[in-house]
Symmetry: C2
Subunit: 388 residues, 2 copies
């Protein structure tokens, strides 16, 4: 169920020495044959990390083709200046040499601490051995999926099938998951035969509906990257088939990321409906989903809908409080902007679970959107108060 599920891909993971713990920190995914069509979606940060700059440039140079992706964890190679760019290029060159492809056909991702030089020699030294050991088996795919993790506690993999083709994927999440992605990396593979432009369009749609609808803390990172490569080992997908399979895989990975968010103990789906339009609904849902106070309530299993209403009312969207209703797990707790009589035990029981549904109906129009979020627990602070 991962990047080697589609035909024509090999993967592997190893320890290059970036992580002092000895945990795997270098992964590679490569086509079995020559470079295939590829597409990427990148962070909108105005200080994109070196690997983001290099991968963007490589996709541009090749017109959307790639033969491999090299990913290191433990160091983001962000805020590292020209030396960081040189390191990212050197990693691509080393992989290209080992695989017998052009350097521009190699894409690169990094995730981890910002502002610390990435030790080029460690990566360049480890790449040939990693390339030599690539395999198309599920164990190799899992090794790759493990090698890209930072504070994630479990590897994240997914796959979906179409008529005669499949899509496989691995990802890492943790904190900083928010609209416009954020400290997330995902590598998707497919054997569906489709050109770079088709891949780019389908990937953009899938990302918008999945990774851009999750949030952990409202922070967007310097390194977010989603890459898709096709081996062209299978048939052309039917109309909408590739979109569906990509959407399924991205949605599955997004859910896994929120479930494994730093310090998160619950996953909550915040749905806003009845907004003036979908855009307003999404804006309001994000405001609620990002609210530290709402997230604290979720952590405590406290049905404090007043905070939900308060966030809706400051989201910058049209609101008429007297029309708002709010429910937890389908049980209405607020109606007409005021407390509604309800079965408190049933609400408490829903909020005690791992999965919480919060729905706010603004009563204004047809707009609807959902965002996945997690609760805010002391473990998030423990995780983030010190880098070392």
């Amino acid at each position: 169920v991962s990047v080697t599920a589609p035909r024509g891909f090999r993967a592997g993971g190893t320890w290059a020495g970036v992580k002092p713990t000895g945990s795997p920190d270098l992964a590679m995914v490569a086509t079995a044959g020559p470079a295939g069509p590829a597409a990427g979606v990148f962070t909108r940060s105005r200080a994109p990390a070196a690997p983001v700059q290099v991968s963007r440039a490589h996709l541009r140079a090749t017109g959307g083709r790639a033969a491999a992706v090299v990913i290191n964890s433990g160091n983001a190679n962000a805020a590292t200046g020209p030396a960081g760019l040189a390191t990212a290029e050197a990693v691509c060159a080393a992989a290209a040499g080992a695989l017998g492809v052009a350097p521009e056909e190699v894409l690169v991702c990094s995730t981890g601490i910002i502002g610390v030089p990435l030790p080029q020699d460690l990566l360049v030294g480890a790449v040939p051995g990693l390339a030599a050991g690539l395999s198309d088996g599920p164990r190799a795919a899992e090794e790759a999926a493990r090698a890209i993790l930072t504070t994630d506690t479990v590897p994240k993999q997914a796959m979906a099938s179409g008529s005669g083709f499949s899509v496989g994927a691995m990802a890492k999440g943790a904190a900083m998951l928010q609209p416009d992605m954020a400290t997330m990396l995902a590598v998707l593979t497919t054997d569906a035969s489709a050109g770079p432009a088709e891949l780019a369009t389908a990937l953009g749609e899938a990302v918008e509906a999945s990774f851009n609808r999750i949030t952990v803390d409202g922070c967007t990172s310097t390194n977010d990257t989603v890459l898709l490569i096709s081996s062209q080992a299978g048939p052309r997908p039917g109309p909408g088939e590739l979109e569906r399979a990509l959407g399924e895989v991205c949605a599955e990975l997004a859910e896994q990321m929120v479930a494994d968010a730093e310090g998160g103990t619950k996953v909550a789906r915040v749905t806003v409906r009845g907004a003036s339009d979908d855009r307003a609904a999404l804006r309001a849902a994000r405001r609620v989903a990002n609210s530290p106070l709402v997230k604290c309530s979720l952590h405590g299993g406290d049905p404090y809908w007043g905070r939900v209403l308060s966030e809706l009312a400051t989201a910058g969207v049209e609101l008429r409080p007297e029309r708002v209703s709010i429910s937890y797990g389908g049980i209405e707790v607020c109606h007409g902007g005021q407390a509604a009589a309800h079965d408190a035990a049933r609400v408490a029981s829903h909020l005690a679970g791992r999965r919480v549904e919060v729905v706010a109906d603004l009563g204004l129009g047809p707009g609807e959107a959902s965002v996945l979020t997690c609760d805010l627990s002391p473990a998030y602070i423990d995780e983030n108060m010190r880098t070392s």
Copy 2:
């Protein structure tokens, strides 16, 4: 040093029974004579609490005059519908009756839990005794300042003097302090003789430069209110004198609020300079000051400037990473968008203190702004995970 410092004011606080703990929960500040000129700044929430709606209407009805403010804590009287409005009006009427003024000359504030009916009988029953016991001494002012607190740990009072006049104030803060105020109430008094329009202008400026430049968690509440009443017992202030005194008092209260934020153990001033303009600087400073990751780093005393850069880069303002420098306590840790050699022990020592200075220079233009924030500690979560 509080609301009774200016001539012509009386105050008091008592327990009306809203807070089950028996802590004081009802305060009153009144002019010693007739109603005087008054002004208010209110939350921009689209679901303003009943007392906000009533106070706004009363100021409008009187053309900007007030004789008293009644404030309860423990219940926000927000999301309480028509019954909530009736309760807020009943409280004003009770105070008006006890003080011999018109109901429209009484303003009202509430703070506490949202969405729970405010017990009208308790407040209306307690108002006459409170009114009868009002005093112009400092002890009465402190009783009032204590009665408006929610999760605040200390009362917040301030005063400033002009030529022959003074400004006194009390406030409550805690969580939800953010641009456009947020769960904060402040009552300011002055004996400076100035009309409603002069008061409104001067108050608006003071609020913008103080309460609108602090943040605890980015949440804006349903109840934020800052009120100013003049007893006209003193002279007309000289040009700029009232603005200066109001600014001083509001800045002092803002600082006290951040220092007493829920779970906060440190106060940090985030300054962005070198932005394209002041507006961009403020936007970037708020983004950094509201970042949960930056706030976790502050809690841990960790000089992780990469997160500051990352937030600057997603603040929606112009940024050229290679021009950015970042310092803690005046010690530059990032220069040209990369790590700068520095004395780590001095930085650690600065970050270990209660007061932290973070300065980011974008190197682009003359824009500058500062925002006060606090760290994010597990106590914030403890405080907010359950309402009962």
